[in-house]
């Protein structure tokens, strides 16, 4: 099983190829956000270095959200275009699951945090059992105080990671009452290697989508829809 992984959900742009139990190549850049210009040249570099024939891929795994709306769409459209052109299926991997998978095998809870602006974070809570990753709390958008409360309720030590950590470190330090630490530099951001490796597991479970079906899971409606819903709530919904 050979899977291409793509993640452009946040500040990091990353592409990787995993074949069964091996990472053949991974290219990760955490420097300025120009994913539209860098993602495909990065994939091309990987393909050239590993003499990869794209036709030998079994599927394309893509970090499918949450994340930056535009970033997600760049990854999605790239994956959809590849899927269409190569006639390959896609695998949508939840962004936070892939982030948590960076810390495979940890005996603590793993809690990835992405800054979601508007005083919220995208987060989820995961743990590892018998060599597999389990979900304690599905990925969602909440404020960081609420997250701290959830973590405290579980009463297990926890590792935090993700680009939201630095933004909310102070609050985490104040509110988190269980033992906690922060993942180091090489593991604490999105990596397409994790997306592709999880993609292999999803593939084994038959969790494919067609390239046409695939779309990001934003976890949030657009601002215009949100404001409209608020207005309707205020004035009462129109009835026929």
């Amino acid at each position: 099983m050979k899977i291409l992984g793509i993640d452009s959900s946040g500040l990091v742009a990353s592409a990787a190829v995993v074949q069964d139990d091996q990472l053949l190549a991974e290219y990760t850049v955490n420097y300025k956000k120009t994913h539209s210009q860098t993602l495909l040249p990065m994939l091309d570099e990987i393909a050239r270095m590993t003499e990869l024939d794209l036709n030998t891929l079994d599927a394309i795994a893509v970090a499918a959200g949450p994340g930056s709306f535009t970033g997600l769409r760049i990854g999605s459209a790239t994956a959809k275009g590849l899927g269409l052109a190569l006639d390959k299926p896609l695998i949508g991997v939840p962004t936070l699951e892939a982030l948590a998978y960076n810390l495979w095998g940890s005996d603590r809870l793993v809690c990835p945090i992405m800054d979601a602006r508007r005083n919220q974070v995208y987060t989820g809570i995961y743990y590892f059992e018998n060599g597999g990753m389990k979900t304690q709390m599905l990925q969602t958008a909440v404020n960081v105080e609420e997250l701290a409360k959830r973590v405290n309720e579980i009463r297990r030590d926890v590792i935090f990671l993700g680009d939201g950590v630095n933004v909310y470190r102070e609050t985490l330090e104040q509110k988190v009452g269980v033992g906690h630490c922060y993942a180091p530099a090489h593991l604490n951001r999105q990596r397409a290697g994790a997306v592709a490796a999880l993609g292999c597991l999803y593939a084994a479970q038959g969790k494919f989508e067609t390239a046409a079906q695939h779309q990001p899971d934003y976890l949030r409606v657009s601002q215009a829809e949100r404001e409209r819903a608020k207005k309707e709530e205020a004035f009462g919904e129109p009835h026929d």
Partner: protein, 342 residues
């Protein structure tokens, strides 16, 4: 499919609120043109919501491309180049088409050609008028653009005038909203105006002092709003049809005047129009009349090729391709891309 030699282009357009793909042969023959319009989704917001547009693009783009290939009875093996709009437009919307096109081009080793959206609109004329060749002047009027240009050669444009403020189509949308017609304003004003008296109210025709070919529509828009306010303050009702017709005439008068001035000054015996507002029936008849009076041949695309579509992008991409333009894997969306820029 006819296998005679030629250049077949798959074109993709997602700069605003239509997801579109087309297969075009030799720049002038449409093998297919598929448009997935989002207009209904944006109506309740009174205009295009960029984030909703982008989300719809990603949802529909593969289906639209696959349908275009199917209707043209071709596969990607038959495609010589992929053309894609990379600006101007909504950045998030453009990025969907650009990323998709790049991935297809890369995976199948098909040359990629980035296309300027407005050059696409102008090129719509080539599809319907096989005999039309540059040089010719063209009036480009849409919701986002108002340009008077001379297409000197394929890929070579000289801008004579542009709007200083609102685009013509934008003024249509704003006035339509003000008189209770809703979005999109262009076709609604066009329809209602047919029942009205275009000379009922005299709205200003703006001219820009130091740039005779430039346009300005914000003053006209304000004049309409002032007129409506005046009516309300006096407790009078206004005629929707008369306001629509009088406003439309004020816009069209200026557009036609500028276009004719350009044809005369530069000595052209042909003239083209393009863009969504080029579908306006009053603009078409007035241009036709003015051109006929001066012995100028008037070219305009049918309405379906005036509004956003990918066939026009395929036409423009063909001439870019022939000129040797090849875009790289780092092609980016350029929301404010200038006409003629490469």
């Amino acid at each position: 499919m006819d296998r005679e030699k030629g250049i077949t282009i798959l074109a993709i357009e997602s700069s605003c609120d239509e997801t579109a793909a087309a297969v075009v042969k030799n720049g002038r023959e449409i093998l297919s043109s598929v448009i997935s319009s989002q207009i209904e989704l944006h109506k309740i917001y009174g205009g295009v919501v960029p984030e909703i547009a982008s989300r719809k693009h990603i949802e529909k783009i593969n289906q639209v491309i696959e349908e275009a290939l199917r209707q043209a009875d071709v596969t990607l093996d038959d495609i010589d180049a992929v053309g894609v709009t990379y600006g101007p437009g909504l950045v998030g919307a453009l990025l969907v088409g650009v990323a998709e096109a790049k991935a297809i081009s890369y995976a199948r080793k098909i040359p990629l050609v980035g296309v300027h959206h407005i050059e696409g609109h102008i090129s719509a004329n080539f599809i319907e008028h096989r005999e039309l060749e540059p040089p010719f002047p063209c009036l480009v009027v849409s919701g986002g653009h108002t340009h008077l240009v001379i297409m000197e050669d394929y890929g070579k444009y000289r801008i004579l005038g542009r709007t200083r403020d609102d685009a013509a189509g934008e003024a249509f949308d704003k006035v339509a909203r003000a008189i209770g017609l809703g979005y999109p304003g262009g076709p609604k004003i066009d329809r209602v105006a047919r029942e009205g008296n275009a000379d009922a109210i005299v709205f200003p025709r703006a001219h820009v002092a130091d740039a005779p070919y430039d346009f300005s529509f914000s003053g006209l828009k304000s004049a309409v709003l002032n007129y409506l306010n005046g009516c309300r303050m006096k407790g009078e009702t206004f005629s929707q049809a008369d306001v629509a017709a009088s406003f439309q005439k004020a816009v069209v008068d200026v557009l036609v005047e500028h276009a004719m001035m350009a044809a005369e000054e530069y000595g052209f015996d042909k003239m083209a129009i393009a863009g969504g507002v080029a579908a306006n029936s009053f603009l078409r008849t007035q241009m036709e009349r003015a051109c006929a009076k001066r012995g100028i041949t008037f070219y305009y695309p049918s309405p379906i090729l005036c509004t956003d579509n990918a066939a026009m992008i395929g036409a423009a991409a063909y001439y870019e391709f022939q000129n040797g333009t090849r875009s790289g894997l780092d092609l980016n969306a350029v929301p404010n891309l200038k006409l003629g820029e490469r």
